[in-house]
């Protein structure tokens, strides 16, 4: 896959990416996530789940924080405990306090007529992450997405 050259992202180190814009610049974040995952041999299924959560988190920041949430900092680490591996993606933004985990997922509509467009991002993050954690500090929102897998010999 060919990705455009980053124009609004900075990498203070390999495992950290700073986004100075959202919208189309989210492609920079996706490319970085795939590159870091490949460097740390994260399996494809786990990368897909991280990708899903990252896109939903950035969409939330864009919708709720807008430009005041910038810059957005991403940090990626992988840890192994025995045969169990975990990738942790921390997404930090400067927007007003917003805990996405405090939002109750909308109950499923029973029909297309009753179905309201939107509001599915939290549902997808809860489904694809093994753990989600939110904290407010410094004064930023920090959302941690953890995806785990068993290492095979």
């Amino acid at each position: 896959m060919n990705w455009p050259t980053p124009s609004v992202a900075r990498s203070p180190d390999d495992d950290t990416l700073v986004l100075d814009a959202l919208g189309a610049a989210m492609a920079d974040a996706t490319r970085w996530l795939h590159a870091r995952s490949a460097a740390q041999a994260v399996p494809a299924d786990a990368v897909t789940r991280l990708d899903q959560c990252l896109d939903e988190a950035l969409a939330n920041i864009a919708a709720h924080g807008g430009s005041s949430a910038l810059p957005v900092t991403l940090n990626f680490t992988v840890n192994a405990i025995g045969s169990r591996c975990e990738a942790a993606l921390v997404i930090s933004d400067h927007g007003a306090a917003f805990d996405p985990l405090a939002i109750t997922p909308r109950p499923q509509a029973g029909s297309l007529e009753a179905l309201q467009p939107g509001g599915l991002g939290i549902t997808l993050m809860r489904h694809f992450a093994d753990r989600l954690h939110y904290r407010r500090a410094h004064p930023c929102n920090h959302l941690t997405v953890v995806v785990a897998w068993a290492e095979t010999a």
Binding site: G23, D55, E56, L115, G119
Partner: protein, 114 residues
Amino acid sequence: MSIEFTDVSDTLRRIVITGRLDVPGTDAISTRFAALAASSEHRIVVDLSGVEFLASMGIRALVINAKAQQQRGGRLVLFVGQNDAVGKVLDATGIPQMIPVFHELADAERGALA
């Protein structure tokens, strides 16, 4: 990201979307998608078999256009083929209970015309 269409018959249109239906990808195709799905003469099959990634923004676009078709008395269905990644995302959100999802193209076309 691309979106193409084929009028299979006078009453059936297939819209083929490929690439990433994430925030930038959905932004890129949403206007054309709405225009193609707005046909009052055609039932609509949206072919997602070539979609690499489906985010909630992409699902939102599917829901908006499915509802618009329904309000016109039409019908929009989804064809995913063997695309497990897209199938898992749709299943996680309960969409197949509200917008029909098919794995075979012939079934999708019959479903749209039902």
